[in-house]
Amino acid sequence: MTLPPPIVQVRGLTRRFGTGCPACPELTGPAAETNQCPRCRSVTACREVSFELHSGEVLGIVGESGSGKSTVVRLLHFDLAPTAGEYRLNLNGAAAAGLPWLEPGQNLFELGPHQRRQLRNRLMGIVYQNPLLGLRLKVTAGGNIAERLLMAGWRRVERMRERAADLLARTEVPVERMDELPRHFSGGMQQRVQIAKALSTDPAVLLLDEVTTGLDVSVQARVLDLIRSLQRELQIATIVVSHDLGVIRMLTTRTLVMRYGGIVEQGLSDQILEDPQHPYTQLLVNSTL
C-alpha cells in the first residue's frame, strides 16, 4: 500500500538573525553546541529543518528554550520570513477551492504577502502560548472569531454569529459570554477562545505553540483533553510545540527533538520517550520523568 502524499512538506528550513558569514553553518548547530556564530555573532535560530506531516497526523516538536522550535512554527505561519527553505502544501480539492492561484507543489515562501495572508487565513490555525498574541482583547470573543470569517469573505452577521456560537460551544466556552471581551475571561478560557478562533475557517493545518504553558495543572488537563478530542473529531494535521514531554506524550504520534536550531532525533513519540538515542534526548527524558 502506498501512503497518500504528506499534507505539509518542509525542506531545509533555515532562519538566521544577523548578517551571517560563510563560517556560520560550521560553527553553529547541535554539533557546535551553540546557535550563535562566534565570528559574526549572528544567531541561527533554526537550520536545515526538514519534515513531513501527513493528513490527520499530530507531530510534536520538543526542545529546551532557544532550541528554535517556536521559530519553526512562526516560519510556517508566515509570522517570520525564512533565510532559506521550501514549504509545500498538498491540498485536496475542498481546501484549495478558495485559492485558485495556488499551484500544486508551489513553494509557499515565494508567494506575495497578500497571497500568504489569504492562505494563512483559510488553511492555517495557530494557538499561541500567550492569548495576547492570538486574540484582540478589546474585541468580543465572538468578534475575534468573526474576524477570520470576515477575512474569508463572510458578509452575513447572523451566519457569523451562529458559527462563532457553535465553535465556542465546542471549545466549552459559555456561549452566553460570546459578546464579552476576552480580557474579562480566565487564562484557560482565553486559550479556549483562541482555539475556537484557530478552528473557525476549518484549517488544513493547526499549529499549537506551547498552548498549556502558564496554565495551572487542572486547566492544562482540560485544554489538552479538548485539543485531543477536537483533533480526533476533525482530523486536522497538527504540529504541537512544547517543552513539556507530558504534552508531547499525550497529544502526538511522532516527535522531532530540536537543539541549537537543528533536529537531533526524530521518530515515534513513544519510542523517543521510552528509548531515547541521542544523549540530549536522554537528558531531557531523564530530567522530566
Partner: protein
C-alpha cells in the same frame, strides 16, 4: 482634467485681472506648488480612492480650517471659473465667507451661491442637494483622510492594509458595533469602498450624502492639508458603503419632517431646539437649495410625503 473650453479666455492670464492682488501670483500659490498639487491630483484620479501624499503648503488660514480644500481650489481655479464655497451646506458661515473672499481677492473670479451656476465648489462636510453636472468639480475639506485610523494607529500598518486590500479590521469594527449597539453607529465619515478596491474616508459628510457619491457625474476631489493627502473620485466611479448582507446601510431618516422655511421633505435637515420652549424644528442644511425652493413657492406647494429617499 476635462474642463469646458473657455471661449474667449484672454491670451495672457494676467490680462483682465483686477488690481490689488498685493504682488501675489494668480491664485496665491506659486507655480511650483500648483504644479506639485496638479500632478498629485492626476495620480489620485488615476487610482480612485487611493490616498496620494503631497507637499502641503502653509496657507494664510490655520491647518484644520480647510487648508487642504483651499490648496486644491487654488491649484485648479482659472479666471473663467465660478466659485461656490459652503460650510455644512451654508454659504454664509464665517469659514465659507472667509475662504470665498480670499480666493476672490487673489484670483478675481466670479462667485455664486447657486449650485448649477458654479464650476468649482469647495465644501466642508456636505454635498449640495441639487444634482451635480458633468464638468463641475467638488472639492472636499478633509480632517482625517485615513478611514482605517479608527482601527489602526500605525501609518505603516494602514498602508500595508490598503496595499493588500485587507479591510477585515474595518469590517470587524462594524460587526462589533452591531453586536454592541444593534446597529452601525458611525454617523459621519462612513467608510466606503471605491471601485471595489480602495477603502476611502468620504470626509465627515452625513450618511445622507454617502449614497450620492456613487457614480456621480462630477469630479470629486478630497484634500487634507494637515495630513498632506489628496484622493479623488473621478466622474461615474462606483462607490459602495460597507454593509452586511443582513444589516444594510441606512441613511438618516427625516420621516414626517419638513424644512420650516421651505417645506421641503426631500433634503437633509438640521435640527434646532428652541431653548425657551424646548420645541424641535427642522431646516434644510443646504441654505442655497432652501432659498431656491422657497422662491419657487415651495412653502405654498409642499413636497409630497413620500418624496424623501
Amino acid at each position: 482634467m476635462s474642463r469646458p473650453a473657455r471661449a474667449g479666455a484672454p491670451a495672457d492670464w494676467r490680462d483682465g485681472l483686477p488690481p490689488g492682488r498685493d504682488g501675489y501670483s494668480f491664485a496665491f500659490l506659486d507655480a511650483g506648488a500648483k504644479r506639485e498639487i496638479r500632478r498629485r491630483i492626476l495620480k489620485a484620479v488615476a487610482i480612485p480612492g487611493c490616498q496620494v501624499p503631497f507637499g502641503s503648503r502653509e496657507m494664510p488660514i490655520a491647518r484644520g480650517w480647510g487648508t487642504g480644500g483651499l490648496q486644491l481650489t487654488l491649484a485648479l481655479i482659472g479666471p473663467e471659473d465660478v466659485l461656490k464655497v459652503i460650510d455644512q451646506g451654508a454659504d454664509d458661515s464665517v469659514n465659507a465667507v472667509s475662504i470665498r473672499r480670499f480666493v476672490q481677492r487673489v484670483t478675481g473670479v466670479r462667485t455664486t451661491t447657486d449650485t448649477p451656476a458654479a464650476t468649482l465648489i469647495q465644501t466642508r462636510h456636505r454635498i449640495p442637494e441639487e444634482p451635480l453636472r458633468p464638468h463641475q468639480i467638488l472639492v472636499f475639506q478633509v480632517p482625517i483622510p485615513e478611514p482605517l485610523r479608527l482601527v489602526e494607529p500605525s501609518e505603516k500598518e494602514t498602508r500595508r492594509m490598503h496595499a493588500e486590500a485587507d479591510y477585515s479590521r474595518m469590517w470587524l469594527y462594524l460587526y462589533e458595533d452591531i453586536v454592541t449597539y444593534g446597529e452601525i453607529t458611525i454617523g459621519a465619515r462612513y467608510p466606503v469602498l471605491v471601485n471595489r478596491r480602495h477603502l476611502m474616508d468620504p470626509s465627515p459628510i452625513p450618511r445622507w450624502d454617502v449614497e450620492r457619491l456613487d457614480r456621480n457625474p462630477a469630479l470629486m476631489l478630497f484634500c487634507a492639508g494637515r495630513e498632506k493627502r489628496i484622493y479623488a473620485l473621478p466622474p461615474h466611479t462606483l462607490v459602495e458603503p460597507l454593509q452586511f448582507e443582513d444589516v444594510p446601510f441606512r441613511v438618516e431618516s427625516f420621516a414626517g419632517r419638513r424644512c420650516r422655511r421651505c417645506g421641503s421633505a426631500r433634503s437633509f435637515l438640521d435640527e434646532a431646539i428652541d431653548e425657551a420652549t424646548g420645541r424641535r424644528s427642522y431646516a434644510c442644511s443646504d441654505a442655497a437649495f432652501c432659498e431656491k425652493v422657497r422662491k419657487a413657492g415651495g412653502r405654498t406647494a409642499p413636497e409630497p410625503e413620500e418624496g424623501g429617499p
